[in-house]
């Protein structure tokens, strides 16, 4: 437990000390919120969808959590290159604990980033249903854990950042864009419908939207189950990957 704690604390310290990157990471959600949110707002209302910012805000929050979390997981590549992973791996700590410390650290950091974006959405006119805030936090936490575990599992087998554009463009971006974050996942063309339904992040976005404004496609219990099971599976893959790491 102590080992998990210190690994978590290290992630947190590193995050808080990089103030510029915290502010930097707010740029993308802000652009999305203002350009896409306000830009598509009139047409969305005309189509009978209602308030688009109200719809988009949970998606934007998930975006910032997803991106921050995956990148924190991917930081393991830096730890490898700067030698710090060796220090962690020669310590008498089971690989599972190292993974859990990293994943929890990444998830915590992403939650902080997510809360900052949440505050920005409030400024932009987002009005959440306050009593279900704890439920919203649960969904955010599940999304954060899932993306952090995913980042760590991928990073375990990568030796440098050369594969980074590949991961970003062919995994992270699709996970976000095809999650129902920016458009409703009802009445979609069949292929898109299928992809959004097998994307676990769709359940995160939908669950968060349910908590914030009571609108949902999937039953919330299903969403929690899907996220929970996926986290568990990715962690198992992650531990396996970690056990195979040779430095």
């Amino acid at each position: 437990m102590q080992a998990i704690y210190i690994l978590w604390l290290r992630q947190l310290k590193r995050f808080i000390r990089k103030k510029a990157s915290i502010v930097g990471a707010l740029g993308q959600p802000i652009i999305f919120l203002f350009a896409i949110g306000f830009g598509l707002s009139p047409i969305y209302a005309l189509a009978g969808g209602g308030n688009y910012v109200q719809f988009l805000a949970p998606g934007i929050i998930v975006m910032s959590v997803l991106f921050t979390s995956i990148f924190t997981g991917l930081e393991i590549i830096w730890d490898k290159q700067f030698g710090f992973l060796k220090e962690t791996f020669v310590a008498p700590v089971p690989r599972l604990q190292i993974l859990l410390g990293k994943v929890l650290g990444g998830a915590t950091v992403a939650m902080i980033q997510g809360v900052l974006v949440f505050l920005i959405t409030l400024v932009a006119g987002f009005r959440p249903h306050w009593p279900s805030l704890p439920l919203a936090f649960l969904f955010l936490f599940l999304v954060a854990m899932l993306s952090s575990a995913l980042g760590a599992a991928i990073a375990a087998r990568l030796d440098d950042m050369q594969g980074f554009p590949l991961i970003f463009n062919f995994l992270v971006q699709p996970l976000f864009y095809l999650s129902g974050a920016i458009f409703p996942i009802k009445n979609l063309p069949p292929i898109l419908d299928f992809i959004t339904k097998i994307n676990p992040f769709s359940y995160g976005v939908d669950g968060l939207r349910y908590a914030f404004s009571g609108a949902n496609v999937f039953p919330p219990v299903l969403s929690i189950t899907v996220l929970g099971v996926t986290i568990f599976l990715v962690l198992i893959i992650g531990v396996y990957q970690f056990s195979k790491v040779q430095l």
Binding site: A3, I6, R10, K13, R14, Q81, F82, G83, P92, V93
Partner: protein, 263 residues
């Protein structure tokens, strides 16, 4: 008594054999030098001895533990200073030490005092709250040595601990290591390319090349067998005069080079 025993240790990468059927022992309490040209298999051997690389074949016992079957018990028994830096630059010197202490399960009441003691041993007490990114190469090295000693290991591995250091710092580093071996009976297992360092500090020496141990013994024994007067002459006589290329991951090597430059 042997603190390290290796039997028929082999590591293959595809068709390339990095370590080829190596068997040797290190005696408890001695200063043991592990020498060889670049790419000879030194670092690979150290990685296997320290549990971060699995051998293709063979067995290793460290402080009585089977390295492959019982890695976590083995890990408690040794400390290591890697060839490449392994500190977190975004943490302070104290935080790097604290991270290590907690990973090794040392109690707070114990590690607080021990960190202070070790930092003063390597003369970094006044720098304990500075970020490691502001440290010079020598300071980082000293901090890594202090960190390697934090959990009171029985064996300390040092993979080229003085690379890139000026003579002053080099002398200091060896003085610490010698004291440590004398006063705390820590077995020292080190690699270096500076033969005069070996002559000064090592009790026994092994020379490895192309993954095989060419010779092992005290410095006198090696000089006698090779029929020369200096260890450097023996080294060149045994390993030949040609210059070696280090193979490996290009990206990682690039990183290693820039890391060394940044020190």
């Amino acid at each position: 008594m042997n603190i390290i025993e290796t039997k028929n240790l082999t590591k293959k990468y595809g068709s390339f054999t990095a370590v080829d059927n190596v068997s040797f022992n290190v005696i408890k309490g001695e200063v043991f030098a592990f020498l060889g040209p670049n790419g000879a298999g030194k670092t690979t051997t150290i990685k296997i001895l320290t549990t971060i690389l699995n051998p293709t074949q063979g067995e290793v016992f460290l402080a009585g533990h089977n390295v492959k079957e019982n890695p976590n018990e083995t890990r408690k028994s040794f400390g290591i200073v890697f060839q490449d830096p392994s500190l977190d630059n975004e943490l302070t010197a104290y935080e790097n030490m604290q991270f290590h202490a907690i990973l090794y399960g040392i109690k707070k009441s114990v590690y607080q005092k021990r960190i202070i003691d070790l930092l003063s041993l390597v003369e970094l007490s006044d720098k304990k709250d500075l970020f490691v990114k502001n440290f010079s190469g020598g300071m980082k090295r000293r901090l890594e040595i202090a960190r390697g000693l934090l959990h009171q290991p029985k064996v300390l591995f040092l993979d080229e601990p003085t690379i890139g250091l000026d003579p002053q710092t080099r002398n200091k580093v060896w003085a610490y290591i010698k004291d440590l071996n004398k006063n705390e009976q820590v077995t020292i297992f080190f690699t270096t390319h500076h033969m005069e360092e070996v002559e000064r500090i090592a009790e026994r020496v092994a020379i490895i090349d192309h993954g095989k141990i060419l010779i092992i013994g005290t410095i006198e024994e090696i000089l006698q067998k090779a029929g020369v007067k200096k260890l450097e002459e023996a080294f060149i006589k045994l390993t030949g005069g040609s210059i070696r290329e280090e193979e490996g991951n290009v990206g990682l090597n690039q990183m290693r080079i820039s890391n060394k430059l940044m020190r």
